[in-house]
Symmetry: C2
Subunit: 397 residues, 2 copies
């Protein structure tokens, strides 16, 4: 019998309990032993739960119990998730997390602590829900050098943008509906302003490069100001408007990460990702382009990802695999203004004048009519400088 | 220094040497030591290769060398790949393979031998080239119960069908071009008659269910008889014609696997997989639907997959992970005739008459005009019995 503890009995934490019951035989086979929940740490009581007797309100019993080898941190938020995770690892316990905020903010510290104490810190569930995405970086792709990642990593915004396109409705209207249906939070800012996606691209950047960008160094664009006109323009151009999280790892080791609405052109596999689905494409010289696609959220898929990490810890596999090293490094993260993209640009004024302005910063300027242009590559800062008033949307090919 | 041997210095074998050079630092970091090629077994000499001095023509020096911990079998074909792999494992060496034929035909025997001798037999490169596809079954999805897999696992046929659709050309014409361009072999039968795809779906079925179907028990349909008319019909129906490898794992443990041209309806993610790309969708109750997409072949991607297995062996991770168990089991594989699909049917005759025939075996019959019908589910045998002369193509939704 192997015992685990769950920190936070919310959507993901309670999903873990369900999956442990539902797939007990498969999990026992993979671990080589039965897996049992010994403690559930939560502020609340759960008198009607079959696990009522395991609920505790302080971390101490978990830290003191030598029979708990693995702790699932599914609390969300930075604090006290950080302090609890560090304390568990200091007590010799491996920690597996679904908490993208704590991994994005403190992944360097958490992984150092794991190494110091000879335990594992795993976080498959922090990006892409149930899509097996993190482990391949540490196993299948470990021998390759990832050069680029582009993903749709937030289901709420993708649902809104898909609805806006399919039904020609405007942002506020679709957001209100998504809130009614439970696809968007009452305070939707973390999703629609790209904050959730930013945390995820920070984690993926660190996995691919070793550099953990600071939150403040990564631009996060919002979809609040996207109009049906922008979406129609994307369609006219042969693409689709999506909130894209992107990172490029330069040959000199620096990274260029951002979250921004982009027009994804039709041949790109991300152009076909609709609704609440997530997808992440990874480019590397040996493997070429690969894409992972699936449900990026939800109680069971995310809990399943947590349990795949639990299995890796309890079977011993995690110990043999390469543990990632994350490092915060000033100067290694290229600001958004210095990142280059081809752009879709729409503005008022004479075509000849706009063209002339654009040609000061890029070689290719294709007028699309109606004050719209497709351009060659220029930096976000250059685009802002020559046409501060224009709608400017990067194009992903 | 860790030493490996390569059996077969063809497209994949020589790719391994290139990737080992190109990514030496990453590989050393993952393994914890440098990796060096000590032997290359091939019938040919390679006098101009930097590895000329490692080329040998019998397996014996590899078997006798205690410093070789891992052998890469990239020979292709069943024999002598099988005998060499068994001999290596008997000598205490782990074997990693890119050879789908030997895994599909003898995976049960090979995995038993590995277990007997406390070594690993891994085959990430046997399906989907560089797409990390096999390992997730043994790690991320190990706690789930896969119920269905559907994939485009042969790039040659997908290239031909994509060209036929995009350019309205007929099969023979596009095949001849693919042969000129090197996308199809001079004898294209293994690809276009579904034999290659069948081996891959046999392997995926075994990973998902534990049952290794016999080659003769899995139907493989060809794309030879696909006409521009069929492709146009798929488009009219809102789908796309693709060679699909599919398997379903029934609650009673039996499996229904097949390879057949299907009309993939637009919302299905496989409907967007064009050209030489491969994609595999996997359905399981906890994780939901996930899809892996990428280049399913090529020297470097396939070699990269082999090296990810080498890394798993040499780092010790493979030993901790669950080794799959494959079993051949008579009666566990449902014949194609007993498998049910919705169908696209096109034939001659009066609409009323055809409708009446179809309604003896299915509840839903939708006339599409021009002698074509969309039907509800019926078995392949029922479709054959009521309309032996008709074009009958399963529909994938």
């Amino acid at each position: 019998m192997k015992n685990i503890a769950i920190l936070g009995f919310g959507v993901v934490g309670s999903g873990i309990a369900r999956v442990l019951e539902q797939n007990a035989a498969e999990i026992a086979r993979a671990v080589g032993d039965e897996v049992s929940i010994r403690y559930i740490l939560d502020l609340r009581e759960f008198p009607d739960s079959p696990y009522a007797d395991r609920v505790i309100h302080t971390i101490d019993p978990i830290l003191a119990d030598p029979d708990v080898a693995c702790v699932c941190e599914t609390m969300g938020g930075s604090h006290p998730a950080l302090e609890y995770s560090l304390a568990c690892m200091e007590a010799g316990k491996s920690v597996v997390s679904s908490n993208k905020e704590v991994v994005a903010n403190f992944g360097d510290l958490l992984l150092r602590k794991a190494k110091e104490h000879g335990v594992s810190y795993l976080f498959e569930a922090s990006v892409g829900g149930g899509i097996p995405l993190i482990r391949p970086f540490l196993t299948s792709l470990v021998c390759d050098r990832v050069t680029e990642i582009a993903g749709i990593v937030n289901g709420t915004t993708n649902y809104i943008l898909t609805k806006m396109r399919d039904e020609g409705r405007d942002f506020g209207d679709v957001l209100a509906e998504a809130q009614r249906l439970g696809y968007a939070e009452r305070d939707p800012s973390a999703d629609i302003d790209g904050i959730d996606a930013k945390r995820k691209i920070i984690i993926l950047t660190a996995l691919a490069s070793g550099i953990l960008p600071e939150d403040g160094d990564v631009y996060a664009g919002s979809i609040r100001n996207i109009t049906p006109g922008d979406i129609e323009a994307a369609r006219a151009l042969g693409g689709v408007l999506r909130l894209i999280a992107q990172t490029k790892i330069l040959p000199d080791g620096r990274v260029a990460a951002c979250v921004t609405p982009m027009i994804v052109m039709a041949p790109h596999p991300l152009a076909n990702v609709d609704g609440v689905y997530n997808a992440v494409s990874v480019t590397s010289p040996v493997t070429g382009d690969i894409l992972y696609y699936g449900r990026g959220a939800g109680s069971l898929p995310t809990a399943g990802a947590v349990i795949s990490d639990v299995t890796a810890v309890l079977s011993g596999a995690a110990k043999a695999e390469l543990a990632p090293v994350f490092e915060k490094k000033s100067g290694a993260v290229i600001p958004f203004g210095e990142q280059s993209f081809p752009f879709y640009i729409r503005t008022q004024g004479s075509e000849a004048e706009i063209r002339e302005l654009l040609e000061t910063v890029t070689d290719t300027v294709i007028p699309l009519g109606g004050g719209a242009f497709e351009t060659g590559e220029m930096t976000a800062a250059e685009a802002e400088r020559v046409l501060p008033e224009a709608v400017k949307i990067p194009i992903l090919r």
